[in-house]
Amino acid sequence: MSLMGGPFEALTACEIRAGLLEGRFGAREIAQACLERIERHDDAVGSFLEVTNEAALRAADAIDAKVAAGRLEELGPLAGVPVAFKDNMNLAGTHTTCASRMLAGRVSRGTAECVRRVLDAGALPVGKLNMDEFAFGSSTETSAFGRTRNPWDLERVPGGSSGGSAAAVAAGLVPLALGSDAGGSIRQPACLCGVVGVKPTYGLVPSQGVEAFATGLDQVGPFARSVEDAALALDVLAGRLDRGSLRRGLSEAGGGDMQGVKVGLVNAFMEAPGLSAEMREAVQRAADAMALRGAVVREVEIPGAQAAMDAYRVLGPCRAFENLACLDLARYGCGDACEAPLEFGAEARRRIVLGGHLLSADEGRRYRRAAEAVRKRIVEDYGRAFSAVDVVLAPVTPRAAFRFGEVTDPTEMHLSDMFTVSVNIAGNAAMSMPVGLGSQTGLPVGVQIIAASWGEANMLRAAVALERAFGRPAVAPGFSV
């Protein structure tokens, strides 16, 4: 469906809002175009677990009423923008299952704060998105409710755990989606699906109402098809619509100019065994593009990052086990059924048992102490790096999207996060930025831009430079007009 002569899927969130304000189309038209695309294309992709047609149309009609009454000043920064949410985010009246059979049929009574902020900003809630069960995974293959397919190659995974969110944006079903990232679960699927994905600084976005299973590590963040949209979403999520607006800061910074910006490259990442040639090339191409725009590229070291995977393999399962008790609260009114066994999938069972061991055994205490020492070390390493550079450029994940069932060894699956987990452990900001297609696979490749905590402005400035160099991410072929 087109909106005033143009395809809906080609519009960014900012363009949708601008078109609404200029009277080129109405919010109901937007909602209908979006819902029609979901109906037409999501059978192939499988990104949605639930589509909220009525809620989207109701929100659209409320916006149209304001426009008709001339109350344009009441329209929020996301007015008329369809947004979908990873299914670990409570939205009242929708099912929030965390893609687990254990929570099947559970209807949210409340709305997560991050979701509320997006809706208060005028967004149209179109539905809930597939994920790895309880966010335990890197491919969305552990969902109890079916697989999500990568829109660039339907025989391949979209990444995970926020695979539904990445795929929905990549296929042009929605311009914006929210996901969560405890070890790479926004950045890695964003990379594999060729879209922008941001993990903000830990603490920037409220987590109340999000069923998190890695407290202290995970953070809600946006998926988008433009840096400007990502900045706008961050402003809304962080409650920074006036002072400190990241989107306003982008236009003030001068689009794409990197004069005087210091960019770090981590040699240990670039030489890591298992990093594919095309992902290495992607990082080098990005560094070259930034240098052409005036950046100074230099080497930095993050020695503690080499132990980050091991530390994450201790901290993650421990957090998962600790948060398990919350699941009893999640099963409202279960009565005697609360004594029944909890039906987790295999990966969830693996992590919970490992967490239980590490929390109860004497030797577990040693591993936890060591993991916390690694955390301290990584924080210091990044602190030293960011005293020398403004941003660090790194791979997101070792390889482009793999085929379903290709990676079955859990240890090998965890390696998907080898370049991302250190950022979660340190609490820094980082994002995945698409930089075209890989020279070997022809699939999307991306780079990770890492900033100091609260350094989102630097991160987004560097992202704009790459967007100018490589273009805005396209909707996946086969899903675009």
């Binding site: 132990a307 091991d310 530390a311 916390e372």
Partner: protein
Amino acid sequence: MDAHITEQEVVEIARRARVSLLEGEAARLAEELDGIIEKLESLLAFEEPDAGERGAL
């Protein structure tokens, strides 16, 4: 060498957590997780004896 985690312990943790296991899964998990913990031993090089634990961030 003693295993880091035994089948019996897997069963006990699963019982405490009310996690239901498939038939034979306890033994499989014990072997798999024992291997994972074995590989984590290099992490102990970072252990600081007086670091203590900070719990959740």
